[in-house]
């Protein structure tokens, strides 16, 4: 009876704000969160800039999405990963990453998990669908 949940991965490889990709990708993630799917998100290449904390888009006159990313865990999107090499080669460390929610019990902030490319490649191989943004 129990059918395997669909595994859907989002890859984010574009930098934020210079194009609509990251924003659109976030919208799709929140929509997909409404379905009973096994969702994961991977930030790689310039996509790692999308999860840098302290983004302020006020002067650009656009909404920004740091607050929405901060609610990913509330949307039950908890499998959020950052490619280590992409992050490090762009001068970022784990400390620079924004918070995606907080632990229900401890109220500790939850951040994306930094992983190596072979781990990401292995996860990619398990997916039913991968949506690239």
């Amino acid at each position: 009876m129990s059918e395997e949940k669909k595994k859907i991965m989002f890859t984010v490889r574009k930098a934020p704000h210079g194009s609509i990709y990251v924003y659109e990708g976030l919208e799709v993630k929140l929509i997909m969160a409404a379905y009973d799917a096994d969702i994961s998100v991977v930030f790689m290449d310039d996509g790692v800039f999308a999860v840098k904390q302290g983004q302020n888009t006020k002067a650009l006159g656009i909404k920004g999405f740091e607050a929405t990313y901060g609610a990913l865990v509330d949307y039950e999107i908890t499998k959020v990963f950052v490619d280590r090499l992409s992050m490090e080669s762009r001068g970022m460390t784990e400390d620079d990453l924004l918070v995606i929610g907080e632990d229900e019990d401890t109220e500790e902030p939850i951040k994306p998990q930094v992983v190596d490319s072979d781990e990401i490649a292995a996860m990619m191989a398990e997916q039913h669908n991968i949506l690239a943004f």
Binding site: R13, M44, L85, A125, A132
Partner: protein, 97 residues
Amino acid sequence: MLHTVNKSPFQNTSLESCIRFTRPGDVILLIEDGVLAAQAGTSKSAMLEEVLAKNEIYALQADLQARALTDLVPGIKVTDYEGFVELVEKHATHAWL
């Protein structure tokens, strides 16, 4: 799995990233400006030769023809739209846009 790359390797790092996340047995399909990587004798040829030891690489015929690319890195297979569809049918796909 199938990786599609549609950007020129001379202007964009998509192909490099794709290769970094490609596992043995995965297939790479070059389309649109991605086919520029398929040419023999470029600064990227050695990189493709290395990949070809573990992975199949295809290039889309229509895009090669449109760009007058005939001299390809040995081992790269040329496919048409029908072949493209067959590859997508066979594998889960990631587009390195």
